[in-house]
């Protein structure tokens, strides 16, 4: 076989390239097929409820009426709560590991933080049921209720199971994601900038603040968004501690329900096409939101990732 320029092409090379390209198409295909399958699965529900699916809080399998608002609220509230806990801690870990820690401490601490990501979700859930929730019920929530009970967030009965437990367990699970991406982002900032600041007499923290953080900012936002994406889709651990009640309440002590949890709990038991279709639509919403968040996050992280090339002195 000859190419356009009359050079002979090896058959093996030709087949090899086409075969690997074909398999690579599967990756795009899988993502596309996922989108198509979710849309098809939820079509009945989309056609029947339209936009009211998003703003109605009636979820009633008996009357066959479905609105996902309580789940959307529970998902957003628990994820934002998780970010509030996890972002400061993760940034602290990332700055410590990439900038301030002595060299011998970086590898072991980094390793331990990554082990945090290795623990299966369902094991966190088990720990949440028997360790975290009782601790919250007996030690944390009574105190919060006593000191901050004038705020609507800390009122009502204290079960241990609820938004607060959900937020904490999500925070634990996304901390390794946010901190390891942030650490990579901080590392991507050219060290000449750091050295310049230190050479001008800045303390290590000042060097980080004036030379590193401004360049890393968009990447750090990206890391946070990646963490948010994980928190939104996390299923088992949060299902086991959030209380699974489709109510909207301002209190962090109150039980709630997330989109992923309702799918996990009801999908196999759902009878009736509309019920299944509505659950699939909840899944579709989750899919669309996490895909969009991932795209935004990666664009932000990549922007910083390219810095070392452009910014090299």
């Amino acid at each position: 076989m000859l190419t356009r320029f009359g050079r002979e092409v090896n058959w093996g090379d030709f087949v090899f390239r086409r075969a690997t390209a074909l398999v690579a198409t599967f990756v795009i295909g899988a993502l596309g097929a996922m989108a198509v399958a979710m849309v098809m699965g939820s079509w009945e529900s989309i056609a029947k409820f339209g936009c009211s699916f998003l703003i109605s809080s009636v979820w009633d399998p008996v009357r066959d009426i479905y609105g996902a608002l309580p789940f959307i609220y529970g998902t957003l509230a628990s994820s934002l709560l998780a970010l509030a806990f996890a972002v400061p801690v993760s940034l602290g870990v990332a700055i410590f590991l990439s900038e301030l820690a002595p060299a011998w401490l970086r590898a072991p601490v980094g390793f331990l933080v990554e082990l945090l990501a290795a623990v299966p979700s369902v094991v966190y859930g088990l720990w949440g049921i028997f360790v975290l929730a009782p601790w919250l019920r007996e030690s944390v929530e009574p105190r919060l209720g006593r000191w901050l009970g004038f705020l609507p967030f800390f009122q009502g009965p204290q079960h241990g199971f609820g938004l607060l437990a959900g937020g904490i367990i999500l925070a634990i699970m996304i901390t390794p994601t946010i901190s390891s991406v942030s650490r990579e982002v901080l590392r991507a900032v050219p060290s000449a900038l750091r050295e310049g600041a230190l050479g001008l007499g800045a303390t290590p923290w000042e060097a980080v603040r004036v030379a590193v953080l401004p360049l890393a900012r968009s990447g750090l936002v990206g890391a946070t968004i990646l963490g948010l994406g994980r928190a939104l889709g996390e299923t088992m651990a949060i299902t086991m501690v959030i209380g699974n009640r489709a109510e909207i309440s301002a209190s962090l002590f109150a039980p709630s329900y997330t989109m992923a949890s309702v799918i996990a709990n009801e999908f196999t038991e759902a009878t009736g096409r509309l019920y299944l279709s509505s659950l699939a639509e909840v899944g579709l919403l989750l899919f669309v939101v996490t895909v969009l968040l991932n795209i935004v996050a990666r664009l932000l992280v990549w922007r910083v990732g390219r810095l070392p090339l452009e910014g090299r002195l």
Binding site: L97, L115, V119, S121, V123, W127, A260, A264, A280, T290
Partner: protein, 282 residues
């Protein structure tokens, strides 16, 4: 009392350092707590029966999770068989020919897919496999786990192939090997230990996945024989047992969590040790 500007700056530096140390300690508290409780409570539920017996009905003491342990191994093996070959091939494509616009699209899809919640992968495989075959099966569970592994394996393969020095390829081509054999015999073999690490990390992650199995592999109180029957797995059993009201089941859930955690952490840690001698300084 007056501080000089210099002292104030030193003080701020110290405070931030302390805050960062505190953050790192706080991040590790849950890890220590989880490891402690799973070990302390799990060890009491472990005995020979746990590894060799089927679950007993509620109320009867004893019984084990032999079927779930076997089921988890079966699902993970299936996921490896289905997920690793295409993942590696797609990774080879990205590393060798991935500079095109199509390559960028593949890379982007893989990255986005890695962030898709595992429960939606469950729904996807449910409608793709379970609805078509009209039954929950080990095969459906294995496919779901394979889909979860695919993006990780692809991207790891690509990144590790890119680390192999070009001079190796040039040497192979100089000796007269065609391009494809240079890629497979020289590049891929040099990168193999690193790729194995990435694959093992991916396996460790899917071994603990529960959500995508709930409506693909489902569960089974007995030995599910073959690929076309529902199958029990450790993660799903931990979930079912933990949310049940029975004391005895809680004990077994902790024992199962210990077994699963040991399995996952062993895979994870040995994967990291495997790669250390080769690219230790990176």
């Amino acid at each position: 009392m007056m501080f000089s500007a210099y002292q104030r700056r030193k003080c701020a530096d110290l405070l931030v350092r302390m805050a960062c140390v505190a953050a790192s300690l706080i991040a590790l508290v849950p890890l220590v707590s989880v490891l402690y409780y799973v070990t302390a409570r799990g060890i009491g539920g472990l005995n020979l029966d746990f590894f060799t017996e089927l679950p007993k009905p509620v109320g009867e003491p004893g019984g084990g999770m032999a079927n779930a342990i076997w089921g988890t191994l079966k699902l993970v093996l299936l996921a490896c068989l289905i997920g690793i070959p295409p993942g590696v091939m797609a990774g080879v494509y990205l590393a060798e020919f991935g500079h095109s616009r199509f390559g960028k699209l593949v890379r982007f899809s893989a990255d986005v897919m890695a962030g898709v919640p595992s429960i939606t992968v469950g729904i996807f495989i449910y409608s793709l496999v379970v609805l078509q075959t009209k039954r929950f099966s080990a095969l459906a569970g294995g496919i779901a786990l394979a889909v979860l592994m695919l993006p990780t394996v692809t991207r790891t393969t690509e990144e590790l192939l890119r680390l192999v020095p070009e001079s190796l390829r040039e040497a192979a081509l100089g000796l007269g090997l065609p391009k494809w054999r240079a890629t497979l015999r020289v590049m891929l073999r040099t990168a193999a230990p690193g790729i194995a690490t990435g694959v093992m990390l991916a396996v460790a992650r899917v071994a603990g996945e529960t959500a995508p199995l709930l409506f693909t592999a489902f569960n089974n109180r007995f030995w599910g024989s073959g690929l076309t029957e529902p199958t029990a797995s450790l993660p799903v059993n931990i979930y079912t047992y933990a949310v049940s009201p029975y004391e005895e089941w809680h004990r077994q859930a902790w024992a199962a969590a210990l077994v699963l955690l040991v399995l996952v952490l062993l895979l994870n840690i040995s994967a990291r040790l495997l790669v250390r001698p080769r690219v230790g300084g990176r």
